[in-house]
Symmetry: C2
Subunit: 388 residues, 2 copies
């Protein structure tokens, strides 16, 4: 049910003909009750037109609807691209009796081409006509590009539901990547600022801790829409909501990694007892993005040598994160393979769709966890062939 | 002729049986005249035993010989590994009537296993017996691992010759990588410190500006041996020597990239007019290591969108290097494909074994150049299958 799991939201997913395959490519989500909301965006210096336009909209108003198109990213399209994003928002606003600045516009797909507005605008009309309280799954399918399938997650708490949808595939990396996620909830929040205060840590611990290929796109976004209302700050219901929001984000993030381009295994990388939290993060990220670690994982090879080499060269503070090979230990799927500066001689059997790689640095209290996909021949094939 | 191109050096390469294939795996280089020398080492926090031992040797004495074994990296082997490295140096010293600290020991190969000393020491004896003034090419073959072929370079100047050999293949990345290079010259230098002063900038502009897979190994080293003697600092001959040294390093570095694991094309990445030299370097490095740029190159796809996305997310100073998409331009092989915030619509035909990607940021005076290999299905296959 994704974005329509929580009562008070309607969604639709339709085919506008932007994707040559004719697959669904326009999704629309709206709140049927007055909503507040927020978004977190890619930090890439090159930001797509919809990012620029939607940032501005969120400064002007609380969002009531989100429109997403797949197939064309509307990135590197200059001022005309921003006009297209604004025209898309205006069309949604017109159909839903909203102000344009109450609409968030997201795009994903190929960088460079202009949006085919002659297809997109009729698609928006169609989506608006098809909005329904059971449209969440159709919307989740309409935001995909090279994804193998839709990604949705729902968590319900005492008196509220959080539901979301995401798309991932390539360019998945910290600081967000070509990754879009829309999360809705009937939990009441007083303002977009409050929504942002809750969304930020949830994204930090989920979407910002995954890596498929280390690339960071021009279009990444996570949008949260919540019901507008009284919100008691600091009480138990806020804690429960924050936990549910993080759970939904983590669930979606894991699905993105599992469906990473060409992925055959999900690597769960844990770093414990680093000299600092920042260094734990740098080391986990370095291991998660090492092509040698990731190709070894594709070969189901418990290659702790490559893990060590990657961990020992994690960029931090102008040098490398602190690490002492005489003290650290490495385990694959719970089997200790390296300790006290030497291999233990144990060789775990790797298999299946997940692999835990745990480094204990024995230096301090820093901890971090990352999810990463492996690097397969199919990843290369997909990305060598994906069109410009 | 590699390391024996300059008069006054002898070398040998022999098969000691360390590599299961029976291919040559022990190289020895010695200076026949009193020498001075220096080395630059991997900055990885995990340093192989030969690195630790050879660093110490260079603090104690000027190096007169270099011994290299391929097949086993002697990394992550703890104190016993250091004993092995010291025993190797001692054996070379015994055979060549040197002190052990006058011997630099280098290893490359698999991380984890101990060196098979029962094979290596007889190999050292054999190499010492075979040392000759024409042994440079044999030595260059004996340091290889997954390399397709030997890498040598020679540049002669007015009254001096600089010759070198290198091995590369995987784990090639700035801050040195699994990359070994030994360079010899009959140009006279007064001390190891002076050699270091000359080697450092040459390495910065060559071996530290290449990337095959973004990984940085535990064993990387560049060693320079020069004839000991008077050296006039700051004169024309010093400049000529510095240029020749850099030319040899650049030649070897380019050969390493061209022979990167699975490489089908050498990417020449140029960044001009960045806000600072540091940012130019960060951006060039980010583009050089982007899996999406590198898979596109494998597909001969002039995918400037991926170049932009990579350039826009180059880590610098806790954020990303400065870049303005409205101002920058991107060219592939001299064809401008993106300018003033928009694609130009021109589509260059890519082909052959090299591709130039040039970014002009239009912001300042920062410049940088990088060489990178593409990311191919063969890279993944090689690294998924390479043994633990």
């Amino acid at each position: 049910m994704s974005v329509t799991a929580a009562p008070g939201f309607a969604a639709a997913g339709v085919s506008a003909g932007i994707r040559p395959s004719g697959r669904p490519d326009v999704a629309l989500v709206r709140s049927l009750e007055p909503a507040v909301g927020c978004a977190m965006w890619t930090r890439n210096r090159v930001q797509a037109a919809p990012v620029t336009v939607s940032r501005r909209h969120l400064e002007l108003a609380e969002p009531q609807a989100v429109v997403v198109n797949a197939g064309v990213a509307n990135a590197a399209t200059g001022a005309p691209g921003e006009d297209d994003a604004r025209a898309t928002a205006a069309r949604v606003a017109e159909r839903l009796a909203l102000r344009p600045e109450e609409v968030v516009v997201l795009s994903t797909g190929v960088i460079g081409p202009r949006l085919p507005m002659e297809k997109l605008l009729p698609g928006v009309d169609l989506a608006a006509a098809e909005l329904s309280a059971t449209g969440g799954d159709a919307a989740a399918r309409a935001i995909l590009t090279t994804d193998a399938g839709p990604k949705t997650a729902v968590v319900s708490g005492d008196g509220f539901t959080v539901g979301g949808m995401a798309k991932g595939a390539g360019m998945i990396h910290p600081s967000l990547a070509t990754m879009l996620a829309v999360v809705t909830t009937d939990h009441t929040l007083a303002s977009g600022a409050e929504a942002g205060r809750l969304l930020r840590p949830a994204v930090e611990r989920s979407f910002n801790r995954i890596s498929v290929d280390g690339d960071c796109s021009t279009n990444d976004a996570v949008v949260l829409l919540a019901r507008r209302g009284e919100a008691a700050r600091g009480d138990a219901s806020e804690t429960a909501f924050a936990e549910a929001l993080e759970a939904v984000c983590r669930d979606l993030a894991r699905q993105i990694v599992a469906d990473g381009e060409g992925a055959t295994v999900v690597l769960e990388i844990g770093v414990a007892h680093a000299a600092s939290a920042e260094e734990a993060d740098a080391i986990a990220r370095r291991v998660a993005t090492s092509p040698l670690v990731k190709t070894a994982a594709f070969g189901r090879d418990p290659n702790w040598g490559r893990v060590l080499a990657a961990a020992g060269s994690a960029p931090w503070n102008g040098g490398f994160a602190r690490l002492d090979p005489e003290v650290l230990s490495v385990a694959f799927d719970g089997t200790l393979v390296f300790a006290h500066g030497c291999p233990t001689g144990r060789v775990p059997e790797l298999g299946g769709g997940a692999c835990r790689i745990e480094l204990d640095l024995g230096l301090g209290d820093g901890e971090a966890a990352y999810l990463a996909s492996d690097l397969s021949t199919d990843y290369v094939r997909l990305n060598a062939e994906y069109t410009t």
